[in-house]
């Protein structure tokens, strides 16, 4: 199925958000995630099932004012 990750479409075989992050190589990176505009805490990623067309945001610390 296709999912939209940080604005770019990609194919995935992952069934949940935790598996998708692993598949994409985020590993132990400090990131926060949102699925279809809703925050998904790190502990809830394995329970967040993915469906075709889902939008995922993966955010990390960045410079800010």
């Amino acid at each position: 199925m296709k999912i939209l990750v940080n604005g770019a479409w990609r194919d995935t075989s992952a069934v949940d958000l935790a598996a998708a992050l692993h598949e994409m190589g985020y590993g132990e990176a400090v990131v926060a995630t949102a699925l279809n505009g809703e925050f998904v805490p790190a502990g809830s990623r394995p329970a967040a099932r993915l469906a075709d067309g889902d939008r995922i945001e993966v955010l990390a610390p960045m410079q800010g004012g």
């Binding site: 940080n6 604005g7 994409m24 190589g25 985020y26 990176a29 400090v30 990131v31 926060a32 995630t33 949102a34 505009g37 809703e38 925050f39 805490p41 790190a42 945001e57 993966v58 955010l59 990390a60 610390p61 960045m62 410079q63 800010g64 004012g65």
Partner: protein
């Protein structure tokens, strides 16, 4: 000492971490500023570049407290979700809440700001709202649960100093017990000193330091200005007057005509 949400801070200068020429200069500027609080943000991270991980390790090494922002958010939902994500990543319930309402001036959408502040405060966040000097909005933000206010001096990144002195003085006078941090628009150290002399509790600087020809030196200059302005406030400035008043005593002046 300045106290915000139960935390005591020696430094009254908050520093932004954006737009520095290099990570090394950012790090040295933070040290030179003696700031104990720096602002940070969240952005999309690609699994390949991992730019955010490097930045985060630099900030952690500095041993400062972080104040994550919701910069770039134009709606209540975006701001609330970003705040939730920031709380997890940065491990703090502090959030500098920005809900932008107008792109040319980056003026806050104060209606969305109050609504987002209410949602976040109820969810346990300690909210630092980026607002205007409007008294009514300030009142509503306090009622929503904010214990600190961050009124703008001038539009973000403009360097124009304190645009509305009358409004800012009124805000200070109206809420004498609320920590007020001037956020945005400060261009040079004299602006920061002026804010402190007027009785504001702290200032948040970013572009004025980051975009200076020598950011590290400018960070140190701002640190001195903030301290000087705060000391001057405590010392009790004289009242200005329209006519001259001789500073040298006139009694006993020689008659030499």
């Amino acid at each position: 000492m300045l106290q915000v949400y139960g935390i005591e801070l020696r430094s009254r200068l908050f520093l932004g971490t954006s737009r520095y020429p290099s990570p090394a200069v950012l790090s040295e500027a933070v040290k030179a500023s003696r700031a104990q609080v720096v602002t940070v943000s969240l952005r999309r991270e690609s699994s390949g570049e991992r730019a955010g991980q490097g930045f985060w390790s630099i900030i952690r090494e500095l041993g400062v407290r972080v104040l994550p922002n919701t910069a770039g958010c134009h709606s209540v939902k975006e701001a609330v979700t970003t705040a939730q994500m920031a709380r997890e990543v940065f491990g703090t319930s502090w959030i500098k809440l920005e809900v932008i309402g107008e792109d040319d001036t980056l003026q806050p959408d104060v209606f969305g700001l109050v609504e987002a502040a209410r949602i976040l405060a109820a969810d346990g966040f300690e909210v630092f709202p980026y607002t205007t000097e409007d008294l009514v909005v300030a009142d509503k933000l306090l009622a929503a649960g904010c214990r600190v206010l961050m009124p703008w001096g001038a539009p973000i990144g403009s360097g124009r100093g304190l645009n509305n002195l009358f409004g800012l003085k009124a805000l200070r006078a109206h809420f004498p017990e609320v920590p007020l941090v001037i956020d945005a628009g400060i261009g040079v150290p004299s602006h920061a000193a002026q804010a402190m002399e007027l009785g504001f509790d702290a200032v948040l600087i970013n572009t004025a330091v980051a975009q200076a020809a020598d950011p590290v030196r400018m960070a140190a200059a701002f640190a001195q200005a903030v301290e000087a302005g705060w000391d001057a406030r405590l010392a009790g400035p004289m009242e200005p007057r329209d006519l001259a008043a001789p500073s040298t005593p006139v009694i006993g002046t020689a008659f030499l005509k």
